[in-house]
């Protein structure tokens, strides 16, 4: 079965410090991985994706993610955190079952950037 795990419920980081939000996955075949961000009272917004190619993927708002096949991980990173980055972050993997694409989401990690 395909799955995604976000091992940390919350990550705290000081403004200006680098941040990492962890995600590991389990899929059969090639992984298609996504990161989304959710601000209060809003829907999920797409940040970045890994389909194929370079292991370092760059996305919106200065975020990037590193795909590591041997560790089955897709960690979200940013070199210098902003208070405005505080939000809920979801990792997702796209699965293909019975001719249909579906998305499996992790449980989310709340990022708090402290001024």
């Amino acid at each position: 079965a395909q799955s995604v795990a976000q091992p940390e419920d919350q990550v705290n980081v000081a403004e200006g410090n680098p941040l990492t939000v962890k995600c590991t996955y389990s899929v059969s075949g090639n992984p298609y991985l996504f990161w989304y961000v959710q601000y209060p009272n809003r829907g999920l917004q797409f940040l970045l994706k890994y389909i194929t190619g370079d292991n370092l993927v760059k996305g919106s708002y200065g975020f990037e993610a590193e795909f590591n096949k041997s560790q089955t991980s897709f960690h979200l990173k940013k070199p210098s955190a902003l208070v405005s980055d505080s939000a809920l972050y979801f990792c997702a993997v796209r699965s293909y079952t019975s001719g249909t694409y579906k998305y499996i989401f992790g449980t989310g990690t709340r990022l708090k950037v402290l001024a």
Binding site: Y36, I51, F90, T100, Y101, K102, Y103
Partner: protein, 117 residues
Amino acid sequence: NAGVTQTPKFRVLKTGQSMTLLCAQDMNHEYMYWYRQDPGMGLRLIHYSVGEGTTAKGEVPDGYNVSRLKKQNFLLGLESAAPSQTSVYFCASSYTSAGRGRNQPQHFGDGTRLSIL
């Protein structure tokens, strides 16, 4: 460019009442999805549709029904609301699996916050 629009944004129901949540998208997406979001559980797929006139069950379909009579609309119905259905409901849409759209992400609405007393 509205994207994905959900109505209503908030609703309070009594146990046993029924209601319909509406999702509309203006991006000509083939796929549409309904999720519920509960604390500590991420997003769970309720039902989805791969095209007009077709629907399928997701991970947690019990107590819900859906219809996709028009490509741009996806309705989620609760026939007899229960307190366990108190949640935030999100609709999403995406392109089909073929062609240039196959690797595109989902687009989400801003959610419907539903409380059942």
